[in-house]
Symmetry: C2
Subunit: 219 residues, 2 copies
DNA sequence: ATAACATTCAATAAGTCTATTGAATGTTGT
DNA sequence: ACAACATTCAATAGACTTATTGAATGTTAT
């Protein structure tokens, strides 16, 4: 093998991995799988993809060595092959946030169209948690909460928030989080809470990023 | 704009950026541009791409907001739009190193087919440099050295190494570096030096990674 | 102005990717 | 063994991507 053949082969291999990430649906799937293992049907239900199509996209991710499949009874659970996959997608996302005007105006437009609200960083939240100055709510669907969540967070799925307001005291600040920076469930929750007399903020990023930073989690 | 439209749009935008990275030639171009700005012709000469084809790939990177073009006289210099681009590509590369068996066996096969040699990490090298225990040689083409290099490194392009051996003392350890972990110039240099009675090691990674770690550089 | 030269553009053919079907496979619980 | 159900497979049409040409554009130096 000559040096040139080596280069050709290795960049090809790297680009095949990257190509598998280069599709909007597959990036969305990665954000779902970052919450924990999930079967094909769950992916399908949480996106606009048909089951067959979700399955095909998952195969592409599997062949690119980005996810692996494990059967448990009737269901086949897909999961990220390692945290490096999430880290690579995070780096790509940060690149978009940092340099892509389209990405930024989409984020700004959508977020400030509804009410404006405050964000809180991971370290700020951690400090408030240590002083018991805050209630943290996980507004993802309950099964994602069960797969793992921020320590001492309450599970109040965004869907059910309106009927569960009485579980929250109006005196203490509320911080809501969800799947990550591209997920809007926490945004909706914070807006709803602020309209109803609470003092609510959105955690920047979501559960996967909190976990990846080594901050306290439980399941 | 509904939540679903937002998601569709933002993942589409992110995937368009990612798609631009999903091609072997464009990844190779990124590794070249990580050494510093370069005109189309330089990219063409250092790859297997025709000028027209290199230009087209650069346009793709430009539309994806990954590189920008700046004319200086007759030449148009392309450069990475920000260090986030390099970081994203690094994260992808690390993902390949960590999880892709094909990538690993390519690296191992090629590297151990020739002689085996030792690697040295950035921090180990830094320490040796502080004790003047080492000569660092930059084996990239000289114009890449001129755009920026490790502090106090000598420029001895791999091409010219055989005719410049007398510039190196046999008593002191030599560390060679080049463009990065997928570049073979330092490998060749280290093998050649070891065959000729020197004690040589290869720096893990290359100049862009050294610079990105905030270690001492000059130009 | 003109020649020299770096780069881009336009057209094209071959190859690759995607969503949609409906049928096939594999597992569970009876 | 069978029904129920989760997932995959195979075929296909339409949409993109890529490398190759050769011509067009834009800049510099004379």
């Amino acid at each position: 093998m000559t040096a040139r053949e080596f280069k050709t082969a290795i960049y090809k291999e790297m680009s095949e991995m990257t190509k598998a990430l280069g599709n909007p649906h597959r990036l969305e799937i990665l954000d779902l799988l970052a919450q924990g293992p999930a079967p094909v049907e769950y992916i399908s239900k949480n996106t606009t993809l048909s089951v067959a199509n979700a399955s095909q996209h998952l195969q592409v991710l599997k062949h690119a060595k980005l996810v692996k499949a494990e059967r448990k009874g009737k269901y086949i659970y897909y999961k990220l092959i390692s945290v490096d996959v999430f880290n690579a997608w995070s780096a790509l996302r940060n690149l978009g946030f940092a340099n892509n005007g389209e990405v930024n105006s989409l984020l700004k437009d959508y977020r400030s169209k509804s009410e404006e609200f405050e964000m809180i960083s991971k370290s700020e939240l951690l400090e408030k948690m240590e002083h018991d100055d805050v209630v943290v709510i996980d507004v993802r669907p309950e099964d994602e909460y069960r797969k793992g969540h921020i320590k001492r967070a309450l599970s109040i799925p965004e869907k059910n928030l309106h009927e569960r307001l009485e579980e929250l005291s109006g005196d203490i600040e509320v911080v809501a989080y969800c799947r990550g920076p591209l997920c809007l469930m926490a945004d909706e929750a914070v807006n709803y809470l602020n309209k109803n007399g609470f003092k609510a903020k959105r955690l920047e990023y979501g559960f996967p990023e909190w976990q990846e930073s080594g901050l306290p989690v439980e399941s």
